[in-house]
Symmetry: C2
Subunit: 265 residues, 2 copies
């Protein structure tokens, strides 16, 4: 039994955080160290070059996610200790979904099948919020604008629900070269429910060298096309968000419910 187990591979699906080693977890670094095989999108693998010297590395272009997941599972099944890496958190719009979908199709089970572990990380919502102030002190919705895998009508319906429900809204993948209308449509929907001066933060490349942040508002949010792209996240405030010196702040509750100076009374 022991030798059977020791021969068996492992699959770690690892979140590297925003792409700067400081905001990676200890667990992520530990499993990268333990692994003999690294698989990932070329740019993500590039973020950890210094941590994976001497290991077998499979670099992929941005597409081919299904190939990546299948290869990771196959190599782990053959006894390799594999890290399938991505930036942020693989549990948020990340690779763990595809891995479990494929494993479920193969009849895998957690108890006596391949060891699979999702190593959570600091996702864009966590890192962008930390950089712009305190937008996520209240209920929030997270919506991806990518219509590659989800019909645009569904995304619109979700934006409408978030706007109507007064959710602070975190927008992943706000635009790409081929896709620029989404943020315009989204803004129109929010303007039906929120004031034009509602704070909006645009964060590009959080915690990376090229980090760029603008805190603007609903009326002006389309004036920064150079900020938009696949490493940009947009946060739209709700009715209680206020801007303060280039930050966006959400109070932790309704003003009537607490006093900021309660200790001074």
């Amino acid at each position: 039994m022991a030798s059977e187990t020791s021969k068996r591979g492992k699959l770690y699906v690892v979140g590297l955080g925003p792409g700067n080693h400081e905001h990676m977890t200890f667990r992520a670094k530990d499993v990268l160290k333990e692994a003999d095989t690294i698989i990932g999108y070329d740019t993500y693998v590039g973020l950890i070059e210094d941590l994976i010297a001497g290991k077998e590395v499979h670099r992929y272009p941005m597409t081919q996610e299904v190939d990546r997941a299948n290869q990771a599972i196959d190599l782990a099944d053959q006894g390799r200790i594999v890290c399938l890496v991505s930036s942020g958190d693989p549990g948020i719009y990340g690779m763990i979904g595809l891995v479990y979908e494929i494993l479920a199709k193969r009849g895998w089970n957690r108890q006596d099948g391949l060891y699979v572990e999702c190593v959570p990380g600091v996702s864009s919502l966590n890192s962008c919020a930390a950089l712009v102030g305190s937008p996520l002190m209240t209920d929030f919705a997270v919506v991806s604008m990518s219509d590659l895998l989800v019909p645009w009508e569904i995304i619109l319906k979700r934006v409408e629900a978030a706007a109507a429900g007064d959710y602070v809204t975190v927008i992943y993948n706000p635009a790409s070269k081929k896709r620029i209308h989404q943020l315009k449509d989204t803004r129109e929907i929010f303007l039906k429910y929120r004031k034009p001066d509602t704070p909006v933060a645009i964060v590009k490349g959080a915690y990376r060298d090229r980090q760029d942040i603008v805190v603007t508002d609903l009326s002006s949010m389309l004036n920064f096309p150079e900020m938009l792209g696949m490493i940009t996240t947009v946060i739209v405030g709700n009715s209680s968000t206020f801007s303060y010196k280039e930050m966006m702040i959400n109070p932790r509750g309704y003003a009537s419910k607490y006093q900021l100076v309660e200790n001074k009374d």
Copy 2:
């Protein structure tokens, strides 16, 4: 100028992650090391006892958040290097909001005022998702059921919007000793929009010794009262979530949009 700056204190508002050092970030550990003063809710401080030996430590009961935030700012203003600690991510329903609210009231500004840094961490939504499968592959809403600071009618309106918008929904603070009706009301709302067999995960004490996880469904979710409390998070699936051997899985997109075996063709 240099001596002026070197005398000045710092305030780090630090997320410890789920409460187990493995899932803490390097940045969090580094700033804990740098600090001379630690402030936090007693239970959170207890999670890092081994990292803060020899430092001045201020432990608070669960309430008194305003006192905690004011003290942290005051001590940093006096030149101390302060870590105000909390579990999870201080940017998600955490202490950073109160800190910025108080600083804004005091007229602080980031450019030449006190150095303040929010150190993001792995929040409950990240850690619970990683433990139960892949629920957050699609758009999701995050709602706190605590009505201490937000009127219950507002929370109900948000739950309704999330249910109508087909959002996977992450519920923070689902219940406390005094508060048990919320999850019942919430379930009723979801049942208007989703099937009774929609997967629901209940995660208590993620990554802690007492961790306990149940994957159930909307119809049975109230049958686990012993799981509920302030360290419990509930995840309600959407129309595309399926359960698989005690896990909940969301596909990464609409089935028609991709093939799981595209590489085998």
